[in-house]
């Protein structure tokens, strides 16, 4: 092949566009041909010089910012608007659908809890042995629970009050041990349940407001990490009174 033919392929060779087989042939030729190797050197130097000199102009940072700004901002804002709208809708849907569901679930849980406690109270009333420790002396009743419960509590002083302590016994609510204390006021019986307070109980009791169920007056409150319930067929005023006495005894 003449040198002219080789030099026709030289540009493709230097631009890395020559097929591998031809590249090998051309390189072999360059080894032995001074004219062609000199020409190849010249062309590759020109290519390199142009590569360096060709990067002559750089855009202003300000211009770049402007072009970028013209592509992005409206879009981005639109994008954010969309995100906001979607979030709003999602939250609204959550509130509308899940809110009542959650509230209903909580009310159901409270209902279940109150039913269970009412049952415990009724069972106690119906039992031949209402209490396991029979004593009107709070200093007898409280020590009896020692070692039986993972917590301790204070009983109110009832001297001079219409309430009388009958005694107490162990009880269980959802598998957790607690104390059931029996009081009377004007022939009405009151049960006071004491359990360790748990997040589950907290969630189940919607509020500390008095609850009425099957004509029983029920009250619940927390103090010192314990959850108290009073259940009685006595008046709400009596339930309030006993609650107040427990509250001051707990302090």
């Amino acid at each position: 092949m003449s040198c002219d033919r080789w030099q026709e392929k030289m540009d493709a060779y230097l631009d890395a566009e020559l097929p591998e087989a031809e590249t090998r042939e051309l390189e072999a030729h360059l080894q032995g041909c001074r004219l062609c190797s000199s020409e190849a050197l010249t062309r590759s130097e020109l290519k390199r010089s142009i590569h360096l000199a060709g990067k002559a102009y750089t855009p202003d940072a300000e211009f770049r910012r402007r072009v970028l700004g013209s592509i992005v901002p409206r879009q981005t804002r639109r994008g954010w608007l969309w995100v906001w709208a979607a979030s709003f809708v999602a939250i609204a849907v959550l509130l509308i659908i899940l809110g009542p569901l959650l509230l209903r679930q909580q009310l159901q849980e409270q209902h279940r809890l109150v039913s269970e406690l009412t049952d415990l109270h009724v069972i106690t009333l119906a039992s031949a042995n209402r209490v396991d420790v029979v004593s009107s002396d709070r200093h007898t009743v409280k020590p009896w629970f020692q070692g039986k419960l993972p917590f301790t509590f204070n009983l109110p002083e009832l001297e001079g009050s219409p309430f009388e302590l009958l005694g107490g016994k162990l009880t269980y609510l959802d598998g957790a041990p607690g104390a059931e204390l029996l009081f009377t006021v004007r022939k009405h019986v009151l049960s006071v349940f004491i359990f360790k307070d748990t997040p589950e109980l907290d969630r189940a009791i919607v509020s500390d407001r008095p609850i009425r169920r099957l004509s029983f007056n029920i009250q619940s409150w927390t103090a010192g990490g314990l959850r108290y319930f009073v259940i009685t067929d006595a008046s709400r005023a009596d339930a309030d009174d006993l609650r107040a006495r427990f509250a001051s005894a707990a302090q």
Partner: protein, 203 residues
């Protein structure tokens, strides 16, 4: 769908401030714009460099680049993902330039398949390795500026942008064979200019 309304004047070296485009798309695709940004912004400096080489003027180059981006964003839906974005946007830049006033004025003949711009074949010249070694940036840049636009751009795409022949063919919308022949002519013309300059400087 992104709609862009172009308000402005054709490329005439007007200040870019007069050339604004606004996006009036409804329910725009932020993802699409983001994708466009990801693809197009890394090419900003090279596109500007090429625009400046074509127009030989900073403010015209800015107009050209801005219009290119506006057109590219508007037509981004017609860009097929997976194909060569660089060649696609260079093609837009080039077409925009060719239809601009400066472009129309500059490009006397793009038909490089005629041999009107004949340059003495390289073999008639002495090897000019030494001469090229002396040629500094200024000399090369001056020679590039003197080249016809069609030659200048093909050399820049190949040697500065380091595009493959296939990419160049896509960007210029010509067959690969045309790219190769145009490149050969352009390089010969370049060497001719450099040699003239050298012999002119050292008679």
């Amino acid at each position: 769908m992104v709609n862009i309304s172009l308000t402005g004047v054709p490329l005439r070296g007007n200040k870019i401030a007069h050339f604004r485009f606004t996006l009036v798309g409804v329910g725009g695709h932020p993802d699409k714009a983001h994708e466009f940004e990801q693809l197009a912004m890394p090419l900003f400096a090279p596109l500007y460099n090429l625009a400046h080489w074509l127009t030989q003027d900073r403010s015209e180059a800015e107009d050209l680049v801005q219009e290119t981006y506006a057109k590219a964003l508007k037509g981004f839906d017609s860009f097929r993902p997976g194909t060569n974005f660089r060649a696609w946007i260079y093609r837009i830049l080039r077409n925009t330039f060719l239809t601009s006033r400066t472009g129309l004025k500059t490009v006397v003949s793009l038909d490089d398949e005629d041999d009107s711009q004949t340059v003495a074949p390289a073999t008639e010249e002495t090897p000019e390795s030494l001469l090229l070694a002396r040629a500094d940036h200024d000399v090369i840049q001056r020679a590039l500026r003197e080249l016809p636009v069609a030659y200048r751009e093909v050399i820049l795409l190949c040697d500065v942008e380091e595009m493959s022949y296939r990419e160049i063919a896509e960007a210029l919308a010509v067959p690969i064979g045309t790219v190769m022949s145009r490149l050969a002519r352009a390089r010969r013309a370049m060497r001719h200019l450099l040699q003239q300059r050298a012999t002119g400087a050292h008679p």
